[in-house]
Amino acid sequence: MEEKKKKQKQNHVIEFEYCKVCKLNHNLGRKHKYLPNHIKSLSSFLSRFNNKLSDIRFFIKNPTVIRLEHASRNRLWCVFCDSEIHELNSLFACSNAINHLASPEHLKNLKDFMWKNGGAMDLVDSYRVSESDLSKWEKRCRMLENSDPLANGGACGPLLGPSKDIHNQLISDTKNNLEIYSFNSSNSNSFVPLQSSTHERQQEFPREVHGIAAVGSFLCDSFLPAAGGHSYSYAHGMHGMGEIITYSQDYTDKQHGFLASSGASSVDCSPSNKATWKLKLLNDCGVYQVGRLCNGGSSKQASQSSTQSLPLLPQVSKDNVHTGAPPPWFDTVEEIQLHDITAGVSENGLAPSSRKSVKSQKLNPKRVGAAWAERRKLELEMEKRGEIVNNFDADWLPNFGRVWQSGSRNESRKEFQMEKQKLPEVDSGPDVPIVIQPYVSKRMRKDIAENKDAVET
């Protein structure tokens, strides 16, 4: 019997399992999740997924219609459910992902994951979409569907109607479409006739090609530079992924006619509305872009949106090539370099701390305040990652042995706090503000209580 038990025990010990957070096989069982390495990789694992979710959060707040061409790119790997969420049949960006994140299965898997890997249960809400958010998003989508003529099936095929009466089209309606059309690269020629009829210069927005496969297939002559305008193209590598951004810009005319490159819809901004509209667009994209740049453009959606909003930035400066302003890509390249540097710093930010922990292992474990130092270090790291906020008590006092104090140092703190309590009592004893409450008759209260009872029974 004993042998059997031993064997069982051995079997229990030998059982290996794979930890997807640490990406290693271990035979520690439940103990594993308390290892410092696991805790560290768990927090980076979660923060990575959080970055992806921040994209989706953006789309929850600003629902956008998605083009069929981009639906295949717009997908999410849910790390908790181990499933890929496609957007092939969805009208709005990330709609399947949002529905998935709000689903009870996701919540169940998420809780399972947290239980298994030792995540804090109060973080659960940050990795899912709450029902109220979902309903709000659905409402916004419905609004968009109703207000947007293009969303009602026009997202796929070209619409000739709206492109003709561009002057009458509402600016706010098309704002969201622009974002989508701006990265459509299929047919750029269709807007040329329009240019001649309106005599307006156009600003063609980025028609960029993503992905490694696209590097070779990039063709300069695939777009038409506007008449009298200048077209710039540049390529830059970003995180090892070939990414080519092309855009043609024309600043020569004061009136910026803004054309979506697909020609399915084209928009004209009247001078009065233009400024506000631009600001809006810049706000929408710019803020988002800043958020993304810090994250290093990890997901595909991010690369879409960041490239989409990059060429918007040069619009702010009114100078053009004729007035001797630096070419617009100088700004963007600098920005990208800056962002690379900051991303590098943030990525390397963990390295010194890990080095430090190696160093601290050499320190005497019995040194003064060793436990405090370890705890505080973890806290500081968490604070750096933004997981917890540095919120210590305003009355916090350090450990201190006072001059006239005999006994332990904690006693001196207690003594001081006693002294402190005594002093204000003497000073502000009579100044305690009296809270005046309205008189509520006992009979009324009784009635209410009886009513309640009646309802309950």
Binding site: S360, N364, R367, V368, G369, A370, L380, F416
Partner: protein, 151 residues
């Protein structure tokens, strides 16, 4: 000298510097910039700050600031300049043959004296000692008299 070293005027700042200095000796000089003795000490601190920077952080605390009065009371600061040592948010005492072990009162005679004191505290703290004895000869320890409280 207050522009050479960080000067703290708020309780929260003092709190956070005590909490965030990890595995280093924290030297807090309580005093005021208008005092001549304080300036003398500040000069020595500022000059040696770089040399001890690997194991020590130095900050000045303005005792005249209103928010600091809590600490002035808690640390029993009656004479300026007073220098208090912390390690991992734990108070470090030093037995220098004077009445007050909890802090260093007065200035240091030279830079090396300060460095020696900080080093003694760091070494003691690394061995887990909450009180160390002063490495300086008694003639270079400033003398003062402490009156008993509530007497």
């Amino acid at each position: 000298m207050s522009y050479l070293l960080t000067t703290l005027t708020k309780k929260r700042e003092v709190d956070s510097i005590i909490r965030d200095t990890i595995d280093k000796v924290l030297v807090l000089r309580f005093g005021k910039a208008s005092d001549a003795k304080c300036l003398q000490l500040d000069d020595i601190l500022a000059k040696s700050a770089r040399e001890v920077s690997k194991f020590c952080t130095i900050a000045l605390v303005d005792t005249e600031a209103e928010e600091i009065q809590v600490y002035v009371k808690y640390f029993d600061i009656t004479l300026v300049p007073s220098t208090i040592f912390f390690y991992n948010a734990h108070h470090m005492k030093m037995d220098s043959g004077t009445a007050d072990h909890t802090k260093w009162i007065g200035e240091f005679h030279r830079k090396q004296d300060f460095i020696d004191v900080v080093e003694a505290i760091f070494r003691g703290a690394m061995k887990g000692k909450l009180i160390v004895s002063c490495p300086l000869p008694p003639e270079r320890i400033p003398r003062f008299q402490l009156l008993f409280k509530d007497v």
